[in-house]
Structure formats: C-alpha cells, structure tokens
C-alpha cells in the first residue's frame, strides 16, 4: 500500500484482521469429501491460504494426495463455496511439489480417522517400504504382514485383504481378533 494514500483508519484494522482470520479458518475447516470427519487442513493438503480483504479474494494452494484423486475437484468447489459464504472469491491452485505424504496428516486428523473406523497411517507403516523407498528398489519379495492396529479393538493382529480400497488412499484389512473388516489409510 502507498503509505501516503492509505484511507483506512486504525479502527478498521482489527475488523479486517478478524475477517482474514475467519475466512482462513473456514477454508481450512472444509471437510474432505470422501472422509468428512477430517478437514483438508488436518489431511495436510493445504499449503497456503492468502486472504486479501481489500478485494475480498483468497488464494488457496493445495497439494493433491494422489495424482488422479477425483476428490480434488470436489475440494476445489468446496473451498470456493466456503469462501463465497464469507463474501470472498476463492482461487485454488494446485502444487505438486513437494509431494504430499501421509506424514502431513495431523495428530487430531489421525484420531478422527481412527474414531471413524479407518486405521490411520503410522510410522511403523512405513516399514513396508512400498511408498517411501520406491526408487531404491531393494524391496523384499515376501508377502508382507505389517503391524496395523484395528481401529475397533486396537489389536495389531490384522491382515491385509486388498492393497487397493474404495478410494485411492485406502487399503482393506481385517482384524483377526474381533473379526471386523476395516479400512487403512495407506502410508504414502
């Protein structure tokens, strides 16, 4: 802003700041369309939210979980809708690099997933190597049994039914203790 011509009196600044905070909070709270118990902020896909109260615009940068994730378009729409409710126009850009990883899912997001019945990806999940060590090549050829805790009873005596689940980000497992089938957020 040109310092000499700034019209805003200092009394307006807190209000403007409030709006900025509110708009950003509303955008970060947009739920994932496939797993509505987790917000896009907890999912770790929001890279940047820049609110411009002067022209009522907000620029949002998100990183897709998977290249072909069909939910991305729905998320963009939801962001636009959320901003519109505050009278703001949202512009959504996608940033591929650095690539999203399940490490970016917040602790509260992991708890929400577990309560929803989806086993969150945890550190031990990386031991399979499927995701993290792709380029390295040295992956064992045995059929793997990883330690993934059942979100229902907590038992780690679970087995994989299918590496690919109902969405790109989930696998299917079954608990051998309580016999419940459940989904696992794949470590990536």
């Amino acid at each position: 802003l040109a310092s000499g011509s700034e019209p805003a009196s200092s009394s307006l600044l807190p209000a403007a700041a409030d709006i900025v905070i509110r708009v950003e909070a509303h955008i970060r709270a947009v739920p994932d369309p496939e797993i509505p118990v987790i917000s896009i902020d907890d999912l770790g896909i929001v890279r940047d939210v820049v609110v411009n109260s002067a022209d009522s615009s907000v620029w949002v940068t998100i990183t897709p979980t998977y290249s072909g994730c069909p939910a991305m378009r729905a998320i963009e729409r939801a962001i636009v809708d959320a901003a519109a409710r505050d009278g703001f126009a949202a512009y959504v850009d996608t940033r591929l690099s650095p690539a999203w990883t399940t490490d970016w899912i917040s602790e509260s997001g992991r708890n929400a997933l577990r309560e929803f019945g989806i086993a969150p990806p945890d550190a031990s999940a990386h031991m399979t190597g499927s995701g993290a060590h792709a380029a390295g090549g040295a992956v064992s050829l045995t059929l793997q049994r990883r330690s993934v805790a059942c979100p229902v009873c907590g038992s780690t005596d679970t087995e994989e039914l299918s590496r690919f689940g109902a969405t790109a980000c989930k696998a299917l497992r079954r608990c051998l203790t309580c016999r419940e089938p459940f989904e696992e957020f794949k470590p990536l």
Binding site: S67, A90, D93, A134, V139, F164
Partner: protein
C-alpha cells in the same frame, strides 16, 4: 477430464513456459510420457467388473486412476511446452491416431489376468525407474509430477509382483499361464527403452532422461520377481514392437481411441460433463 463448469472460479495449475526455449522434441517427449499413462489408464479401466475378484476391480481401477492423474498433468504440460496451448482434454480427445506417441505395450487389448500382471510388472518397473530419474528434471512441472508419481507406481509394481508370485509359484496351470503371459509381453518391452530422436533431444535439454538408461534397473527388478515366482525370463523375441513413438500403432489403437474419444467428439462444444 477437466470439469469446465464456468461457475467455479478455479485457477488451474498454470506454471509458465520456462524462459529457455523448449524444443519441439522436448514437448513431444513429455507428450509421449503422458500418452503412455493415458492409454494404459484406459486399458486398465476396462477391467472394472471383469477382474477375477471385486478387490481386483478396485485395484486395477485405482491403478488406472493414478495413471490418469499423471497423464492429466503431463498432457497439460505438453500443451504448454509445444506452444499450441492445447489443454489436456484437447490432447486426449481431439488428436487422431497418428498423433499419439504411446508405445505398443499399453495399447494392446486386454488379455487374461496373467497377461495384465505381466504387462503391469514391466510397465510399473519401467515407470519406477523413469520417475526416479525425472525427479531431477530441469522442468519444474515434470519434476513435480515425477516425485509425486514415484510413490504411486511403487504400489503398482508391488501389486504386480504379488500376483506374479502367487500365480507363478501356484498351481501347474497358473504357472503355465503366467509364463505364457511373460513370453507374450517380452515382444513389447524393448520399445520402452529405445532412444529415439525425441528422447535424445529431451535428455540433452535436461528435461528428459534417456530411455536406455532405465533398462538395467527395470530388468533387474523384473528378473528378481520372475526368479522368485519360479518362472523363467523368456528368450529374446524374434520381433519387437516399434514405431509407437512415431505414431505408428497397432490395429487395437484405433478401436481404443474410438471408444475413448467418441463422446467428446460427438459433443465438441460441451462445457460441462
């Protein structure tokens, strides 16, 4: 592929063309990578409701979806680099057969499940090496796509590996059919690793990688899976498929495009799908 609903104010990924002049060959190289992913995604999608079990319907559909996502980003980038400004839909739906630069491997009609696993093992092993190398591409978009896709294709490769082990080291019949499939696919793999004029130019520019550099890593992985699955690597085939990168395709390609493109071409002015 894109949703053109004009009511949604969405700025798509619009990284500008690099300041350095990008050659036509480099743009064609990126287009070829996108075409491989797009056409194989189309073939994998055909498995939905046709796989031996419902988990495989989902698995192959998901793998195709990952490839489609890679194709969207690569085609979009190719349209920026070649200066024509064609978007992903334009490139996917409104090009004719001779303008596609995909290899023959990805366009071959769906065989039985063993054939698909043999094809997936080779293609994902190739892509694993490809994207690892392209993570250092001089083009920031290509590098970003590669870093993202590396993780995805490692899941694809692992999936193919698990089925190779199960079928190869399974019953007499599953072993024979898996070996037949491995023999079949061997006639289509060399094209993935062939250094044509376009890929040499792209590699020189720092944006691409020489396909021949990917051969040993991919072959080593396939060999290790084949050995563990009690199968044998086939003898070198008498004939190898070639010409795909120059737009010379097999009969299957025209039928594939007809199915993939006909709705878009029937409604060329549609703004919403």
């Amino acid at each position: 592929m894109t949703d053109n609903d004009s009511a949604v104010a969405v700025a798509s990924s619009t990284a500008s063309v690099p300041a350095t002049v990008v050659s036509a060959e480099t743009a064609a190289y990126v287009l070829g990578l996108g075409d491989d992913a797009l056409i194989y995604a189309q073939r994998l999608g055909e498995w939905i409701s046709r796989a031996p079990q419902i988990e495989e319907d989902m698995a192959l559909g998901n793998i195709g979806l990952d490839l489609l996502g890679q194709a969207r980003a690569l085609l979009t980038r190719a349209g920026q680099l070649d200066g024509t400004g064609r978007d992903e839909d334009r490139l996917a739906y409104f090009r004719d057969e001779r303008e596609f630069r995909c290899v023959h491997l990805v366009q071959q009609p769906r065989g039985d499940f063993a054939h698909e696993m043999a094809r997936l093992l080779w293609f994902s092993s190739y892509q694993t090496e490809l994207y690892a190398a392209l993570a250092g591409s001089a083009d920031e978009i290509v590098a970003g796509v590669a870093r993202k896709a590396t993780k995805e294709v490692s899941y694809h490769r692992d999936h193919a590996r698990q089925w190779m082990l199960r079928l190869g080291d399974g019953t007499t019949q599953s072993h024979e059919r898996m070996q037949d499939a491995l023999n079949w696919v061997s006639g289509y793999t060399s094209e993935l690793f062939f250094d044509d004029r376009v890929s040499v130019a792209a590699a020189d520019s720092g944006i691409g990688v020489l396909p021949s550099r990917l051969l040993s890593g991919a072959t080593q992985f396939v060999q290790s899976v084949v050995a563990e699955a009690t199968l044998v690597m086939p003898d070198p085939p008498l004939q190898n498929a070639r010409g795909g990168r120059d737009g010379v395709h097999s009969q299957a390609m025209g039928y594939l495009l007809a199915e993939m493109q006909h709705i878009a071409r029937s409604h060329p002015d549609a703004t919403s799908w």
